[in-house]
Symmetry: D3
Amino acid sequence: MTDAFVPDTRRWDDLAGPSLVAATSERSIAVVPIGAIEHHGPHLPLRTDALVAEAVATAAVERAAAAGIDAWLLPTITYAKSDEHHWAPGTLWIEGTTLLDQLIELGRSIAMTPVKTLAFVNGHGGNVMLLGWANRELRRRYGLRSFSMPAGAGAAGDGLQGRPDELGQGIHAGFGETSVVMHLAPHLVAPDLPPRNVPERIAGMTHIGFNRKPVMFGWTSDDFGPTGVIGDPTGANAAHGKVLFEQGVAFVSEALAEIDRFEFA
Amino acid sequence: MTDAFVPDTRRWDDLAGPSLVAATSERSIAVVPIGAIEHHGPHLPLRTDALVAEAVATAAVERAAAAGIDAWLLPTITYAKSDEHHWAPGTLWIEGTTLLDQLIELGRSIAMTPVKTLAFVNGHGGNVMLLGWANRELRRRYGLRSFSMPAGAGAAGDGLQGRPDELGQGIHAGFGETSVVMHLAPHLVAPDLPPRNVPERIAGMTHIGFNRKPVMFGWTSDDFGPTGVIGDPTGANAAHGKVLFEQGVAFVSEALAEIDRFEFA
Amino acid sequence: MTDAFVPDTRRWDDLAGPSLVAATSERSIAVVPIGAIEHHGPHLPLRTDALVAEAVATAAVERAAAAGIDAWLLPTITYAKSDEHHWAPGTLWIEGTTLLDQLIELGRSIAMTPVKTLAFVNGHGGNVMLLGWANRELRRRYGLRSFSMPAGAGAAGDGLQGRPDELGQGIHAGFGETSVVMHLAPHLVAPDLPPRNVPERIAGMTHIGFNRKPVMFGWTSDDFGPTGVIGDPTGANAAHGKVLFEQGVAFVSEALAEIDRFEFA
Amino acid sequence: MTDAFVPDTRRWDDLAGPSLVAATSERSIAVVPIGAIEHHGPHLPLRTDALVAEAVATAAVERAAAAGIDAWLLPTITYAKSDEHHWAPGTLWIEGTTLLDQLIELGRSIAMTPVKTLAFVNGHGGNVMLLGWANRELRRRYGLRSFSMPAGAGAAGDGLQGRPDELGQGIHAGFGETSVVMHLAPHLVAPDLPPRNVPERIAGMTHIGFNRKPVMFGWTSDDFGPTGVIGDPTGANAAHGKVLFEQGVAFVSEALAEIDRFEFA
Amino acid sequence: MTDAFVPDTRRWDDLAGPSLVAATSERSIAVVPIGAIEHHGPHLPLRTDALVAEAVATAAVERAAAAGIDAWLLPTITYAKSDEHHWAPGTLWIEGTTLLDQLIELGRSIAMTPVKTLAFVNGHGGNVMLLGWANRELRRRYGLRSFSMPAGAGAAGDGLQGRPDELGQGIHAGFGETSVVMHLAPHLVAPDLPPRNVPERIAGMTHIGFNRKPVMFGWTSDDFGPTGVIGDPTGANAAHGKVLFEQGVAFVSEALAEIDRFEFA
Amino acid sequence: MTDAFVPDTRRWDDLAGPSLVAATSERSIAVVPIGAIEHHGPHLPLRTDALVAEAVATAAVERAAAAGIDAWLLPTITYAKSDEHHWAPGTLWIEGTTLLDQLIELGRSIAMTPVKTLAFVNGHGGNVMLLGWANRELRRRYGLRSFSMPAGAGAAGDGLQGRPDELGQGIHAGFGETSVVMHLAPHLVAPDLPPRNVPERIAGMTHIGFNRKPVMFGWTSDDFGPTGVIGDPTGANAAHGKVLFEQGVAFVSEALAEIDRFEFA
């Protein structure tokens, strides 16, 4: 195997099969960005979640690799579990069970290589619970070490921190996410931002809430109004987006380093 | 329907079909306890999670009803998603997808009655993400309002608060859970408690962790040692269990009250 | 294993995992009550089938154990195959295929313990064929010995004998079933019983019929009228219910004894 | 439609689509023979069950049609639920769930025609419970009237009566079935018949048994010995087979007549 | 095994299980005719595809056997993937995934015998891609050598050559297929043939087309008009049908000979 | 809707949901590249098929749009049906049924927009039959017009023409495919090309073959030798790859134009 041709790359799929076997080891980490193609209000592109996940993961893999972590980037999963935006034309989503099968089968393939560790970098809050479920399936079925993390460093499902006056409800197409897209793809953001749409009633609840509150609830994004925005995009700006993006890259690369030295007990 | 016989009960299944139609309305809440039958170390009964979920939900429904909330108790789901304890003889578990189908079909039935709100009271951390997923399916498919909450008031998946020196890792058969079973069913707790088994390495991690840390990971309970305990049951006692139990009942009954007045926007 | 704590119980789930391994052997029988939560006319509780199955199985396990049979009671399966009552609000049912998966996966778990024999005690006629199917899957897939039986001693699918003038059609919420619930849970039976609803046309057929006739047919309970009763509850009484219940307990405990000494050839 | 060409036939699939629409009505009955391709001892052909079901159904449809019943014969389902003979090379079987899907989808097609009644004529005991299940699905999903019956007139699952000294255990490749194949296809029966293999232990049981006893049990045919025979083929003869076959034809044609005048209430 | 009774037959299911083991070897080929029961215009029987597949396969197996090829005929699969005719009453079809499962499970059974080669003879264009998919599953899962071929020798999915003025569009109930049915079952062909219905627009396309053009497209047969004919049945005749049939038999028997000597490399 | 912000793009997912609704019409075509991540010998990257499909589709959409065809590019499906390379480490594949579900659900989403036409541009021969199947499901279920085509203009499943001395067997990692990757991503091609591996035995067959022969067969790529190459990469060069690539772009853009004016009848 030592003579296998290995191009200068951190992309798994840039390699030939035998090269991948030669280049990887039990220390290697397969990094899988996962996003969504879904309605993000009238101002953000449908691929917002895939864009952010892929950009953060790509930069984080490079940074981790530079620090000696043997991370490999896999193709981004774009079509994902966007059932909460099913009502909005343009959303391209697949059933959660179809996505779960896809992740389990992806892990089955990875388990046939020297690589035994998998890390999902997730740009879409709606995938969080499915990823947690998939992690366990991959551990039980194939003995993989499997991790999942947001592409950002905040408390929302995709890790993109909101603004205080979003009251913790800036989870979709709000200040944070709009800012990050302004940084990454400013030409795709509409010049006119939609108005604030913060579900203040929910913010005021004691037990029920989107994140960090103990009572979860089922919702689709049209439960909160017709724009599909949950949060407040007004005032979003690329400079803040750059900060959030870099926080995300730093977080993911540090997380990869921690995964690298992870042991169960 | 006004002449339907309605016995003095808060159990859904104590009623006849026509009585249920007469006794319930769009304000009613169907409360479904869900636990597990799974290995809980050498000292706790296999039905620990089902026991706690059912006991808390039953008491909370009574308390909520006394406060004017029209809550109805449904039969406890006992066999659940215990894939993390699949290795331990005695565990009786079903595939997550089978359980998800069961919950979706249960919701389909409820949607045929006047009741439009569903609340799962969960005693097993391993069900948390599946319940979050199910909530959304029930909202999208049947228009139900669907909620899920732990049976306890703490940060672990089942809400049973640990002890500080468990370092946030007391998630299974540890101090909190052992104490609660000592309170609810002391005759079922072994006199000799197993030793502390806190995954301190994981406790010391920055990003990766069981709860409240951003990086989730796949594990089965034997990853942390042969007893299946994750936490420290030593020192557990019924008095503390009583406190935790009552916290759980208070939490769930308050959550039901908040669900009763819940509106999306 | 000899030091495992084994409380005084016949409930599987009262034990800890290691205790179960210590307390059971290849001679042990796992007894699974299975019922339904379904419309039983305007006078009987929705949980009629689960109530009867659980009460009979519990008493029969105690009696069998007293006679030296190593029977263990598992949690009752309440939500089951009630597609014939799908039209009636209050019925809580799951698809047959979901229930079949649940039973197969339950058997998979049992096969990991010393116990190699499984016996379903069934309170719902609509489960009969599914249980017969499941028995074979459990034998083929896991090598278990698997049995299913009605909770009563009569000819109907749930074994609850009717009255002669029900013409063998008293299969749902009729004389037998109403009487047994009057015995087990009198406070849940409506004071006014619905009228006789015996499908006499079918009773008069030569080949087609519910039980013991060679031609089976598909039906839902509203095919026979709006009450959902199939039989004649008038005259039902707790005294007769007690007789039927005790017949059921005797039958199931004797069947468990026969299972205990069962050999294929 | 009155000009559609309708050949002289009772086979559904002899007709063109528009001819079928013209020739059938709500009074028509679609008759579906269903058998199996499975091991039947060393002396009978693998297609025994399909052979008998098709022969009986074909003759019965002709007889019923001659009596004015508008019965139509559909193609025989040959590959079926033979999981109890899965161990025996030559058996060609499909999973029960695959067969159930097939039957449900077949019913969906029939429901698009004028025909609203379906009758399965079954030559294989292992299909009995699946057919009972399917009948209900077809009624609930498509509003069809669906019936299933054995191809013979006796108590075994396929209706082929045994001999008294088979003690009710002659359910597979025994006296009755061997005799019928000797009548229908004598050139396919081995000249040397295998020895008696009656599970006498089971015959002697009070509660557990194959048919007409209340406790069902899971088995595969190799549980009773290596030949796969359950019963006693010795002494089987074509003359008796002719009697059984004619009983079967008479039974099925009478059953079709009863189906023709069937009403629920 | 040498004493097993083996009747003079090429039908797999004429044999007993042990006879099949004795009579077959790794050189044997299991031949499975597969057709459809589907609308074929107002003039052809619904079983056209099953009829042709079975007739061709039967004759080809005999011819191949006479030439020393150890081919065995299995029961015809009649209900198949006719989703393109789902709209036409009389069509009896099953979902493609159900059929795929059936084929995979059939292969699983065959793999338990000495026979390691499988050949589908297909009379229905709508099955072609499913068969190609199945071939690979059977190779990967069970190590079988699996082949599929049309029942005719032409370019259409079922191999029945059209007439030049059908412009390659005579794929369903056109000149070729009508002629073959006139040969095989003249009494089932309506005396009045429907008019030409050639999708000339599609014939004139450069890239898009039914066969032998690179761009495939989704269609149902009512996309081309109300009769369900795609082609031109006018002028069809039994003499030409005989030619086509004999070409089909010659093609399939030669293909079986080539399969007999097939090696991968 | 006329005020929706529409950036200058042909990417579906660059748009916001409302912008997509404003920018598209029933004339629009959703173009979905689909490839694979699979072993392509020791010399080509695992993403060869995804690379080619995406590059061709992207260029063809631009060209078609310039010619007035309203084509929109969707995210590439990378993980696909590579079961024939399942044995080779590095291959990342999902079950065909999972992919089929994904395509059907993707079509369901598209059908909620103004767009009613879908075109798959396929870089992987192993997807061909699945795509043909999917086209029909999308037509039947959602009324879409659905097309699939190779990314190249030749006869192989992916359309990449081989060299004459490959005898029509250059279907995987051979002359054509190697040349195209040399053109598109020369830095990813190993300097040493593996030797010719043409299955000449199959080339010499009359009926059985990969393409354009009537008998299909099941294979996995290791059936033809250990390198996974099927064809002859020696002599491959970027200049020829450029020719093939441009042929592919021309073919796909012309096919899109034909789709644009496609009518069934």
